[in-house]
């Protein structure tokens, strides 16, 4: 059996072809693999970009959260500062209101003291019985607001109070009053001022005086001032009125008796010898 030469020659050709095919197949697989790799790479790159984007977003969110937290902290601090300021403001306001009310109180005190000062100055600035009486009446009318009133001095035997000056009382209604058994007499005898607190002072009358003030020289009582009623706009006595009552009780009779003695001495001032041996 003879061998076909073409067979011999075709054998290596076939090998080469198969080898080529194999190489081609490998190449094709390699190429396909490379494409797949490229695709994977692209996908991964895209994924990376997407993750980077997400990361950036998350970072921004975290930064925003920090900013919000900072702002919240600031708000909290500011709230505390505000509360502190409000509390300080309230304290200052309370202090101011306190100062203001004390100022008003001081102004009233000043006004009362001015009334007492003026009354005292007026009482001691004349040695004429008429002028002293006029000033006592002025104090009663202008400072106390008395509408009807009278001043009484006790008689020599101490049994009757005799009116020496009056205002707003009908003449017939005014006469000596017995010390015993009368409201005026009781105030005189006890040496204590009496104020009718049952009715308004502007509703008093000669029978039911609003106030009776004993007049005193040292420890001796010499008469009374009776305030029968006050002006319509003055329904009750105030603190300063009671101070004025005390002042009148202590100074009115002294001024009146002093002026009377001076008149009796025919307005002659006592000589220096009268003051030399006072042993003070």
């Amino acid at each position: 059996m003879a061998n076909d030469p073409r067979e011999k020659t075709e054998e290596p050709g076939r090998d080469l072809r198969s080898e080529r095919d194999e190489v081609l197949q490998r190449f094709t697989r390699g190429s396909s693999f490379a494409r797949e790799l490229l695709q994977d790479y692209e996908a991964l790159e895209q994924r990376l970009r997407s993750l980077e984007g997400e990361n950036a977003k998350l970072r921004a969110t975290i930064e925003a959260d920090h900013a919000v937290r900072d702002l919240l902290k600031k708000i909290e601090t500011l709230e505390l500062e505000k509360a502190e300021l409000v509390s300080r403001f309230n304290r200052v306001e309370a202090l101011q209101s306190n100062v203001s009310s004390r100022m008003t109180e001081a102004e009233h005190e000043f006004s009362n003291l001015a009334n007492l000062f003026v009354a005292s100055t007026q009482l001691s600035s004349s040695l004429s019985p008429r002028a002293v009486t006029r000033r006592i009446k002025e104090i009663l009318a202008q400072l106390v607001g008395a509408e009807a009133y009278a001043m009484y001095l006790v008689n020599a035997d101490g049994t009757e109070l005799v009116p020496i000056a009056s205002e707003g009382v009908p003449g017939g209604k005014l006469g000596p009053v017995r010390v015993a058994g009368s409201e005026l007499g009781e105030a005189f005898a006890s040496g204590e001022a009496r104020v009718n607190e049952e009715t308004n002072s502007n509703h008093g009358s000669p029978d039911r005086p609003a106030a009776v003030l004993p007049l005193q020289i040292d420890e001796r009582f010499v008469g009374v001032i009776a305030i029968f009623s006050t002006l319509a706009q003055k329904p009750r006595f105030s603190t300063v009125d009671f101070e004025l009552f005390r002042l009148l009780g202590r100074q009115a009779a002294v001024a009146l008796v002093g002026a009377g003695l001076f008149m009796r001495a025919e307005h002659k001032l006592p000589g220096l010898e009268a003051f030399l041996d006072l042993s003070v």
Binding site: E107, F110, S111, T121, Q122, E138, A141, Q142, A232
Partner: protein
């Protein structure tokens, strides 16, 4: 600080003293005294006053006549006038205000009331 001048018209030396005492507490106020309406007119003729505080019951010329005269005086016709009186009735108040008084205070006076009335009319803080 602006300075204001006030004329106090009162026949009673005691009340005058008290009013001057009270009004002198207003720092920017210079106080001048007059014994009655005639004395007040004399003083108003020689100087300009920013406010007048006057009693009603006075001899020679009372407070209401003074208000009338002041309101016809070209220099002082706009000057605020405060009336002080013992009369407390609404009618008396109306009468004084109709004649041209700007405010009305009844006796017995309270210094803080006089001060606040004067300050209010002069618009002093």
């Amino acid at each position: 600080m602006a300075e204001y001048s006030c004329l106090v018209v009162e026949d009673s030396p005691m009340m005058r003293q008290l009013l001057v005492f009270a009004l002198s507490r207003v720092k920017s106020l210079r106080v001048t005294e007059a014994d009655d309406g005639v004395d007040a007119l004399r003083k108003l003729a020689s100087a300009r006053y920013d406010i007048i505080v006057t009693d009603i019951n006075m001899p020679i010329m009372d407070g209401l006549k003074l208000v009338k005269r002041v309101r016809s005086d070209p220099v002082h016709k706009e000057t605020p006038i405060v009336i002080i009186t013992t009369e407390g009735s609404q009618e008396d108040r109306q009468r004084a205000l109709q004649l041209g008084a700007n405010a009305y205070i009844t006796k017995p006076i309270q210094a803080p009331q006089v001060i606040s009335t004067v300050k209010e009319l002069l618009r002093i803080e």
